[in-house]
């Protein structure tokens, strides 16, 4: 299958990219990893008039801790994260995601920022970003804008970017010694969209109670969803089986899946219950291991 014709703009700098977006307005789309966009173009479901390729831009691919936060650049590929020592040692729940996004070859092209901007209802990184309470940096001719992930994700395949803005970075909190998480996904086979997936992240306070718990779910709604009630059910107490059970059931209630070839509404709801249970249980194990090590 062959895409419809389009005009290609090779952006060698952010300025060039922003200028091109300004010039072509809503007819233009940014090309980063292209692993969702290009297949859609081959099916002629996507027929953008102009593609602005940001891949040539230097300095947009990085994984760095800087100023008390972790920064991921617009051109950082999934596989950069999958094989990053830093991510594998310190950001386990991000490593969980990097291990299961798409397939190994697609991970060499696809980008974390692109996946979040694309906002596919089944995008692993969006669920993970909700759990981690990530900030998205949108850059325009007038400068940078910081958008909380909850505000950035608007609706399926729709984000809060204004015309002329590009996602240049996502900013992740650095987990301290009492913070951990887990991301679990059910897919029919490697490379399939998730049937259901859940990411959790929590921090234990001095008394061993959970604080700032984040629980994100994807493929069970028009876009990735935050399981607010499940977070409430966990915060303020320890990760006991009972409280995990309560949180999992809350998450199953508040997700909003649709029926498709991957399964029925009831099936996906129950998968969320199972996945949140297992992700929280694994988080508990990781915390025990981690804190056992540090203490």
């Amino acid at each position: 299958m062959f895409p419809a014709a389009f005009e290609y703009v090779r952006a060698n700098s952010l300025q060039e990219a922003l200028a091109a977006l300004k010039e072509h307005g809503s007819d233009a789309r940014v090309l980063a990893g292209g692993q969702s966009l290009i297949p859609a173009m081959r099916y002629r479901l996507a027929q953008p008039a102009v593609l602005v390729d940001i891949n040539p831009i230097d300095g947009l691919s990085y994984i760095k801790e800087d100023g008390g936060v972790l920064k991921i650049g617009a051109l950082t590929r999934h596989s950069d994260l999958e094989f990053s020592k830093l991510i594998n040692e310190k950001y386990k729940f991000m490593a969980d995601v990097a291990y299961v996004v798409a397939d190994p070859i697609v991970r060499n092209r696809g980008t974390l920022c692109g996946a979040i901007a694309h906002n596919d209802p089944a995008a692993d990184w969006t669920a993970c970003a909700l759990a981690a309470r990530v900030n998205v940096i949108a850059t325009s001719a007038t400068g940078n804008r910081t958008i909380a992930i909850d505000d950035f994700l608007v609706d399926s395949f729709t984000n809060a970017l204004k015309p002329g803005e590009i996602v240049t970075e996502t900013v992740w909190p650095i987990p301290d010694a009492t913070t951990s998480g887990s991301y679990l996904k059910i897919e029919r086979k490697v490379g399939d969209y998730a049937t259901a997936a859940a990411g959790v992240k929590t921090t234990l306070d001095a008394r061993g109670n959970c604080t700032n718990t984040g629980i994100g779910m994807c493929a069970v709604g028009p876009q990735a969803l935050r399981a607010k009630n499940a977070e409430k059910a966990i915060d303020g107490g320890p990760l006991t089986d009972e409280r995990i059970k309560a949180a999992a059931e809350a998450a199953a209630k508040e997700c909003d899946p649709g029926e498709d070839t991957r399964g029925s509404v009831a099936f996906k709801r129950d998968l969320i219950r199972v996945l949140v249970t297992r992700a929280l249980t694994q988080t508990r194990e990781r915390l025990e291991k981690k804190m056992g090590k540090t203490s």
């Binding site: 062959f2 419809a4 399939d192 969209y193 070839t261 099936f267 129950d270 199972v274």
Partner: protein
Amino acid sequence: MATEPTTLSFGQPVKRKEDGRFIQGRGNYLDDIVLPKMIYMALVRSPYGHAKINNIDTSAALKVPGVKAVITAKELAGAGLDWMPTLAQDKQMVLAGGKVLFQYQEVAAVFADTREAAADGVAAVQVDYEPLQAVTDPYKAMAKDAPILRDDREKKTNHIWHYEVGDQKTTADALSGAPVKIKQMIRFPRCHPSPLEPCGCIADFNGGTGRLTFYVTSQAPHAHRTVISLVSKVPESNIRVVSPDIGGGFGNKVPVYPGYVCAIVGSLTLGVPVKWVESRTENLASTHFARDYWMETEIGATKDGKVTALKVSTVADHGAFDGAANPTKYPAGLFGICTGSYDFPTAFVEVDGYYTNKAPGGIAYRCSFRVTEAAYCIERAMDILADELKMDPVDLRRKNFIPKEKFPYPSATGWTYDSGDYEKTLDKALQTIDYKNLLKEQAEKRKRGELSGIGVSTFTEIVGAGPAHNFDILGIKMFDSAEIRVHPTGSALVRTGTKAQGQGHETTWAQIVAEELGLDVQNVLVEEGDTDTAPYGLGTYASRSTAVAGAAIAVAARKIREKAKHLAAHLLEANPDDIEWADYKFRVKGSPDRTKTMQEVAFAAYTNMPDDIEPGLEGVTYYNPPNLTFPNGAYICAVDIDRGTGAVSVRRFVAIDDCGNIINPMIVEGQIHGGLAEGFAIAFMQEIEYDEDGNNRTTNFTEYLVPSSFETPRWEVGNTVTPSPHHPLGTKGIGESPNVGSPAAFANAVVDALSPLGVRHVDIPLTREKIWKILREKGVTG
């Protein structure tokens, strides 16, 4: 000059001679062929499953830069090419005229300078459709008030044909009198061979010579040449079909597809070569599917578990056109083999074919015609009977096996099984997996509340079509052929009517010739797929290559050996009657030092032949097999089920196959691995699904799932050897057994894991959701 054979290779794991080009990227597949002035074709396809075509407007498409022409049914009708015959005595629209009968049906063909321009042209063709009620369920198709889909037929019904075999009355009596009975509707879902390389062709009509050269992804080049001649009216002598390297076939590349006819029409009218390569979506949505059988199965048995009768009433969904590649006599293929490995005193099998608004087909996907359905049906049903009898499925099978003394065995549905030793094969499987220990392990797991299952399948296949009195495609008898030329320096060229798609004929055929003529396997070149040079044959499918062409090669080689014997006698100055063939040499009886190698004899055949022997050393055979061959196997599968998600993990899978004598154990093992992986996919994740409006929900690899290395289990494979008594080499065929026998082993294991919950049957594909639903209904929470 001639040398002694360095590798006597028969039965050895000879490395594949074809690999060299593939591992260096030098294969030559259809789309790799580029001809001067070649243009490209793309097809306009229907978005509707069932609709009236009010109008097709091609004017905008003709304005697209690069577009050369657009043809519709109207243009084809002029030349009488708007319909074409299928391989099952039905006919199929080449381009839809009047109405479309399935989604993605071919509606118009666009010809352009580039692939991209052709795609632009397709997007610009405007078709005015009037949607009609789609029928996607054969049980709705048979309803009185169902719309008639094929109004081109005289018979105003969606019923295509009725087929039956066996004894209806004795079977009915035996069933009604049986102390133990089971009855179960067993569904084999619609699936698709989806070889990694899609179908395609290049039609190259040369106005100067009047010759049509047709390059095509074909498993049966000669059959295609004959069909094309019948359809196009081009004399068969002016058609050359070339089937290059093929990226997998599995039955998908046996039929003739509408795109082929359109490309030929394009080349005939535009006078340039036309290439058409389908997309994956086109492959999954329009080329022929497999299975889609609804099998209502009844078994009668005594209280101690001896089977007394089998009845199977089947509904076959053929889609919009009956595209099954079946022998004329057998519209339901060899489905009558559903008595399997068991000694049924009586059986009755009936099949009714129906039209629906789905893609056409009914082809044999990696199996002899409809044998996968049959094997799955009986192996699933035997487990249900075991459950009814509270018997171990292994004991029930053993008790009912056809005993080896009874071979050749006449089955209740009219087949004569050539040979088998089912006990031996089963015992080896039980031993390999340590069945006793496996049962112990399962008991412990169940104590711990785990869901653990063991599944057994002891199937019999029927392959090697086939004897000419029973088997034909469009009237052409299903023989196959071989031509061997031994060159002066003792190397040889072999040509056959078969066409490999990964099976390794270039190596296996060379091994047969090396064995029969004492040549070095490296000096035997195998050539297939060019109808100008290869002898007429029916092609490669239904595990018929080794069974039929393999036999032809052996027979042709023996003809050569017979002539060579006289040459050897001349060289050794002995009487031909005193010459014997021993240790891959001719030798004078009683004087072992007086010998001649085949190389020496071959040289003499061209340089030093006596006056009474004509020069040269060649052999040709057209082999009509006296019977089919009946490979069998015993498969055992162990699974665990996740109570939370319904996910199944295959812990172990042991496959012991008996395909008679083995020419190349490495290739046989590879065929088994591959067939098991396809069986695994069918059992757990593959189904071509339509919604009630006729939308195909599975038109690409994100929806029609091909397991990756990550999901695919590890295989433990082995063999027993029970030679075929009637095959010159004692071989039977292996390509398809693992795909035929394994789905039941997987399904039986999963049902066994669920049996403590009172579950007796679950239809494949065994998706997580299906199993999850059962678990929750039975109160199992994860």
